[in-house]
Point group: D2
């Protein structure tokens, strides 16, 4: 149960079977940093090319295909004051006929002042009717995951069963995320911090910023899952990553119905009935090549009905 | 500003330019009842064929194409103790490969005891690991809307810009819903009460039940909207009704970005930027022929930034 | 087996249970005309509002829900020289990011000279690098079908299991189309002639023109089908009408696999195996609210393998 | 313009920046072999793990990002008599409700005798009502392409702008395919031969078999394309690879409208008008993680109108 302080010296824009930067054991904690989506660090200096550069990979001793890797986000904090956003909706989130009404000159970068002590993000530029809009911080990681199956190396622009660029605002401090292990050592990567983000990441960014992070890994040997899962104080949740949204929702729902039966003692009719009246969905992103839908179930509800693990 | 007590004698399973059952004026209130999705009334007697039978249509004096009809749900209450659900997930909400794993014998009706005084729904049948699961009521209407454009009469199984079978759990007491008016008198219909419902209506039902309802109409002359809109205590929201989910989300987002600009004093860059970091989405249904995505914006946030109507 | 000469005096822009314009019997032939999509007749005079106005409905004696109506297109001919098209791609058929590259000023009507004797369509306007492009005619009907189920009246902009605006270039002279009967008398409608059309109707029109038509009906009592089917000299085919394309393809494929088993003596493994290596798909339209995918199987192949009806 | 005889000794199940097996020059020809999708060679011996194993990559001297690589399939021939197929439709190509009707016991391998001299494929197993169905060969490659962008290594199960598992029956002998070059040397891979295949590869296989192949490369320096393009005797064509089908069609159509303007002298209105009335679509596959839609334009037509390269 060691704690490792790790300072990254290089970054990856694919999730794949890259050489590990650190070997850690089941139960270990890592304290490290991430650069922003454009490759700028806590000093806002560009240290690596853009595209959600990832810190890692971290090799988890003894992790093997067929296991599950649990990662708890102990601490996720913006590490500088400057954050940025895009300021135009992605063309794919509006009716195709409406795109022609977008002002063509409006590609401006949004600039934000991030005050971690105050817990606020304040819009500095551009000048709009929003003025100096101030929003509460909700720091989260946009892109993280493990090496995908089959020796693939997949761009940090997209996501899949291995995680990746899910851009879900609920992946925040205190959450534990579970991944299927596809490669020896699992090879965990993380990056793309957002000071906050709306549902769907519909302008193509959250408030992009560098992070100080701390996470703790746990290895569940011979525990087989198919899509990313997670738990927070109030819910268990699954992530479906695919296009279109319909398929992302199918992936997430299928993983949840499996989970309810394998770990919560529910028979099929019970699991289906519970989901029918109590499921909650959230939309992670509708911007990236693969979209993300989150399927959630209340932990309070699950405790009432039955047989927790 | 009259109040009308209306007792329905027949019902419709299409939304169309049917003969009005009552003529009401801008500001009037109607107290009436709805049968359940299967056509059973408060005494659980079948009084009309199944398929989300609708009470109405109510002709709103002076409403004309190009106007907007506002309907406030003053009161939405289950009117009997017996509610029912399906107990198997719809095949379209899971991965196609997973459908073969559904038990083939499991088409059982779920039966629930609805206690309005206690605010609870309790599962009575079938016997599952859920036992006598008790859930808090959240009464809502699944299907309601106005006559569609072009003289169409469209099944209450589906939805569109005129409303219809949106099956969104947020259409509950206290909400005001806005519809484009397509036909003289608008012709408002309502039915398909649910004691509660999960996101997506993924078993194909909420807890289906008859309702006592009270609603109040308001006519916004020469106010043009394109998709259903609504307001509750905390949010303004738009509804996109289409398949696939991607298009439903496009409709809802497009309507919201228009609304922010026309009524909340936002310039395009301001509206896009605000949506990017602050939009919330919910999934109404992923079961009906047209799915429903809800796009939401916090009223508190809107009040802070600007120029409310 | 009468032949009826029918001159329409009014038209419909919904397919629904409208009053029949003519009652005909099983085996009867009708000789009539259709106006173009904009409501203009053979003299290019506007005689009815636009929107794929339909001639009909024709009531087929003895047709009842659960039957199948067969309609053979004996003759489909443009009835004037003037045809028109749109000249800009529909925004939904290109990448959303590409729409911004469309010239904004280019909404011009394409005008074509249709020479039925020569079998040609020649582009007259606008002036483009295409010059006086001359194409071979392939006359077809874009929109036709029967009254939909449940007393619905559905816009001629869209399509479904009842037919409607399928805009498939293969619905031409010599084809026999089969529809499920949903309403007493089936209530057959037809209109929206195209002198020719590309796959997908991706500018939103074929070459729109008025038609002289002759068709013959046949009633298949107690023959149950679920989606439109058709036969021509070389193929049997099914039409799936839905959004997105994926679902249209699912509808068409499902109907074909059923047909192969019910009428061509194939066991499930035989039907699946044959489809796997021999199926052909065409895209009817990707413009209308419901898209259309055609699933085809070679008649020669079917004759070789087995047991024709 | 050398001709290289190359005998593969290992294979790849990802397309990525793997070590080249051979360096070739612009204009060179390669004569080589491919194993079947399951990793079996011309002697039907398993020589590598399954999953569309690829021969290559071939490094094309001087090829650099921003160029286009042309590959002409000079010769594509099955190299043994034994071919195999699946015999059950993929669940995603039928209506979700229909999947429950699939016989659950029917997962049998189809076995076929491939007679290259006679040009036929004959079904040997399983026993079905198809009997000894004999089909004409149409040999094609299912999976081939170049290394993708950004240093990715992507599974041969799927496809993208770099090509990959497109499973389009028109990628046959005599076709020239064009790819964007993303990596130095382009790194061309090929494999997954089919003796024949239906549209959509809807059982998840063509008739899978090992191949003898000959291809010739040509390098188009500083020619920028975005999606795979191809030419055969009768058509130019573009391939869109994505899910859902709607997006695959958007990619293909966008690439074609660009091509018509850049290389065929068409103005935007001319290109849009021509596509509107003359475009042809084919469905490559609807089975793989990314689907494939082919957009085609007749070469005869293009020669008539204009200004060929």
């Amino acid at each position: 149960m060691a704690t490792h302080d790790f300072t990254p010296t290089h970054y990856h824009t694919t999730l794949g079977t890259h050489d590990p930067v650190l070997r850690i054991a089941d139960g270990d904690t890592v304290v490290t940093t991430t650069v922003d989506a454009a490759g700028h660090d806590a000093a806002n200096q560009r240290v690596t090319p853009p595209g959600n550069p990832q810190t890692g990979p971290f090799f988890v001793e003894n992790a093997a295909p067929g296991d599950t890797l649990a990662v708890r986000f102990d601490r996720l904090r913006p590490s500088r004051r400057y954050g940025f956003t895009k300021t135009t909706l992605a063309p794919n989130v509006v009716d195709p006929e409406y795109i022609a009404e977008f002002p063509r000159e409006q590609r401006q970068r949004g600039e934000w002042d991030i005050d971690v002590a105050m817990g606020t993000a304040t819009l500095l530029k551009p000048e709009t009717a929003l003025g100096r809009l101030t929003l509460p911080l909700r720091p989260m990681l946009g892109c993280f995951g493990v090496a995908p199956d089959g020796g693939q190396a997949i761009s940090t622009a997209t996501s899949g069963s291995y995680g990746g660029n899910m851009d879900y605002k609920g992946f925040e401090e205190g959450v534990t995320v579970y991944f299927p292990v596809f490669a020896p050592g699992a090879l965990f990567f993380l990056g793309d911090g957002h000071a906050l983000q709306g549902d769907g990441e519909i302008v193509g960014t959250g408030i992009e910023i560098s992070f100080d992070v701390q996470f703790t890994v746990r290895l569940l040997k011979n525990k087989r899952i198919f899509q990313p899962r997670a738990e927070n104080e109030t819910h268990i949740l699954t992530a479906g990553n695919a296009r279109p949204l319909d398929q992302a929702l199918q992936h997430a729902t299928t993983e949840m119905v499996r989970w309810l039966q394998s770990d919560y003692g529910l028979d099929p009719v019970g699991a289906h009935t519970l989901l029918g009246q109590c499921v909650e969905y959230e939309i992670g992103n509708v911007f990236d090549p693969a979209y993300t839908v989150i399927c959630k179930m209340s932990r309070t509800l699950l405790q009432r009905i039955g047989n927790p693990r």
